[in-house]
């Protein structure tokens, strides 16, 4: 459960990243420090090895491989070292091809090595440094007093006469074989350094741990801040889904990712609310439309039954009741029909038909009614074949024609046309009535919407005719549109797909 929470997942990832970064950093720092420390120790050891080397060879030796330094005696005079031995004459910066050191007469007796005070000072003053010198024949010539007893002659590495280092327990030692095969060694007990390094490692661990704790705390704070609006949104959304559809999520006006999400959710809720409101309105309208004829029937019957009536009065009452009942029947049929379309049941038949024939049949059926009102119907019917439901389309056309008659001016005209155009079958019904106000135009296909409330009820119309027409045309995959000029007339245009199979 905790793994599913975004906050916890973020926290785990943050911890992982922090641990990686901190441990990488700590290890690197520790290694650098260690390398530096050893380098420093080694440098000191090498300096001492160099000094010993010079001491063993007797006299201040040149830097190895660089030749001798300039001789400070007079030119031409033989040089002597500290012990009065004669030094070979200097070459001009060239490499020494003969070994310096004691002459052949000194090989037989153990060499006495004396260290200059400066060299001794290098070891004795510091205390922790020690040295050992071996001859070519692996004899320990001299060692410092603080040298460990077990100091051993290091193994000569073949080839180069470079200074090497080795580690023995907590002892760091540097050694060097001279050209003659003598070995000088300088060493030091580095326990203290190792301890310091261990302390440093602990310090690094502690610092890393502290950073980790602060990092995780900061991460928790950040994720809390980031998650909070999401949680607020989910609370608001659950309140809305619990039925309070008019509520909105706050923060939709902020221009960030969450603000945009809130905006999208709000617009969805708004559409939902509108759909619900429309549904509620429809139900209220339907109940209103049913209650009115019901009120007529009940009050008519009660009035009539209140006293004795003549048979003519009874007859009138029954007629009124029948009239109201018929109105209710028409309304319930219309509602049922709409409900069927809403349930999107395959409610229309598909057959090949000629729209112009369907239209002509409707016009002929309606002509007596038009005639009665002195309205002329003009037809311009070109044959167009489509695939659809004759009865349903006839219902649409009849409804449009009935509207055109009802809302026409006296002695007006109706123009009915069918034609094919760009792969569409077009049916137009135009009247010369008073037109529809622009503010009513977008609503006239809505259920129970009445542009002119004063006339419709008296004409016994339910307010569902255009809604049903639209549902039928929609089910055919077509469109129905209206254009109107107030005072001049209204034109309904139905577009249907032309039958391509023939």
């Amino acid at each position: 459960m905790i793994i599913k929470s975004i906050r916890w997942r973020l926290q785990i990832w943050l911890a992982f990243l922090l641990v990686c970064v901190l441990s990488g950093f700590g290890v690197t720092v520790y290694q650098l420090q260690r390398v530096n420390q050893f380098k420093q120790i080694d440098e000191e050891l090498e300096r001492r090895v160099g000094a010993l080397d010079r001491a063993v060879r007797g006299g201040p030796p040149p830097d190895f491989g660089r030749g001798r330094p300039p001789f400070d005696g007079r030119p031409g005079e033989p040089a002597f070292d500290d012990e009065g031995n004669r030094l070979p004459p200097p070459l001009h910066g060239g490499r020494e091809f003969f070994p310096p050191g004691p002459g052949p007469e000194m090989k037989l007796r153990p060499r006495e090595i004396r260290l200059s005070p400066e060299v001794s000072a290098l070891f004795e003053d510091t205390g922790s440094f020690y040295f050992a010198i071996w001859s070519r024949d692996r004899m320990l010539l001299k060692s410092s007093t603080n040298a460990p007893v077990n100091v051993s002659l290091p193994v000569r590495v073949a080839g180069a006469n470079l200074t090497h280092t080795r580690m023995r327990d907590a002892l760091r030692e540097a050694f060097h074989y001279t050209e003659l095969g003598d070995c000088v060694l300088a060493g030091r007990d580095i326990t203290g350094d190792l301890n310091a390094m261990r302390r440093f490692a602990f310090w690094l661990l502690g610092a890393g741990g502290t950073v980790l704790v602060f990092g995780l705390g900061g991460g928790w704070w950040l994720t809390s801040r980031a998650i909070q609006p999401v949680e607020e949104m989910s609370v608001a959304a659950s309140r809305i889904s619990a039925g309070n559809l008019s509520e909105r999520i706050a923060g939709a006006d902020t221009d960030n990712e969450l603000g945009r999400l809130a905006g999208v959710l709000n617009s969805t809720f708004a559409r939902l609310e509108a759909a619900f409101a429309q549904q509620r309105q429809f139900t209220a309208d339907a109940s209103h439309e049913l209650r009115t004829p019901l009120a007529v029937i009940i009050s008519e019957a009660q009035t009539t039954l209140a006293r004795e009536r003549s048979s003519a009065e009874y007859r009138e009452t029954v007629e009124t009741c029948l009239d109201a009942a018929q109105q209710m029947r028409r309304l319930t049929e219309s509602l049922l029909e709409l409900a069927r379309f809403d349930a999107s049941q395959e409610y229309i038949q598909r057959e090949h038909l000629d729209v112009s024939e369907t239209t002509r049949a409707c016009v002929e059926r309606i002509r007596p009614l038009a005639h009665q009102r002195g309205i002329q119907i003009h037809c311009d019917l070109a044959p167009v074949r489509i695939c659809g439901d004759t009865d349903r389309l006839g219902q649409v056309i009849t409804n449009l024609l009935t509207n055109a008659i009802h809302y026409n001016k006296p002695k007006g005209e109706i123009r009915v046309g069918t034609r094919g155009e760009n792969g569409a079958a077009i049916v137009t019904v135009a009247d010369t009535g008073q037109g529809i106000a622009p503010e009513d135009l977008p609503h006239i296909f809505e259920r129970f919407y009445r542009a002119d409330k004063s006339r419709s009820r008296a004409a016994g119309r339910s307010g569902l005719g255009l809604a049903i027409s639209k549902a039928i045309v929609d089910a055919h995959g077509g469109t129905i549109e209206v254009t109107s000029q107030p005072g001049a007339g209204t034109t309904f245009t139905v577009r249907l797909r032309v039958d391509q199979s023939r």
Binding site: A284, T292, K453
Partner: protein, 216 residues
């Protein structure tokens, strides 16, 4: 008692008018809101039955505009029974509210109560000495004996009794007892009053010369 019925369903309007006239009311009718408002503002009615869904001017609007001038009792009639609608109706100034389809007897009873209350008469019986008027049954008893009055006679007696202590002019009586379709002459009122006095005693209705009638 004169009543205005504003209702856009013609069959219902016709029926209501008929039922109310049979109850002895004078009834005016209107099919549209503006028409109804005009009549309500220009005639004095004892009660108005007002539908909510009306062409041109809906019932709320009619009520709101009427309330700026008059406090005629209004019974709203509507096919909407949402709680919100009832509250709105009563808050706008309607005195009562009835949902379609309604029971005719209930409508009549509520109208009677409205008229009685607006006349400051909470009880359904009015006693004038030994004469008792039963507003519910529309009957009159004198000393325990029922007296038969014509519808017009009863209407005049009821109106005067509901406005007890006030001097009611002939014009007012005429206005409240005859509807717009009536073209009877106003002096018929005197004929009816004479007939009431004959049945219930001369002293019941006093004549204020030059002003009108009064029940003390």
């Amino acid at each position: 008692m004169r009543i205005l019925v504003v209702e856009d369903e013609p069959r219902l309007l016709r029926n209501l008018a008929k039922a109310l006239r049979e109850e002895g009311y004078a009834v005016d009718t209107a099919e549209a809101g503006d028409d109804g408002l005009y009549k309500a503002q220009n005639y004095s009615y004892d009660a108005i039955v007002l539908d909510v869904m009306l062409p041109r001017l809906d019932g709320w609007e009619v009520l709101e505009r009427l309330r700026k001038q008059k406090s005629t009792p209004v019974l709203m009639l509507t096919a909407r029974d949402a709680h919100k609608d009832r509250v709105r109706g009563l808050d706008t100034g309607a005195d009562d509210y009835l949902v379609k389809p309604f029971d005719l007897a209930e409508l009549l009873a509520r109208l009677r109560a409205l008229i009685r209350r607006s006349a400051g008469q909470p009880r359904p019986n009015i006693e004038l000495g030994n004469v008792v008027i039963d507003l519910r049954a529309r009957t009159v008893n004198r000393a325990g004996q029922p007296v038969t009055l014509t519808a017009r006679e009863y209407a005049i007696l009821e109106f005067l009794a509901l406005h007890r202590g006030e001097v009611v002019t002939r014009t007012v009586l005429y206005e409240h007892l005859f509807d717009e379709s009536d073209d009877t002459l106003s002096n018929l009122v005197d004929v009816h009053v004479f007939s009431i006095r004959k049945k219930l005693g001369h002293e019941l209705i006093a004549t204020r010369r030059g002003q009108g009638y009064c029940i003390e």
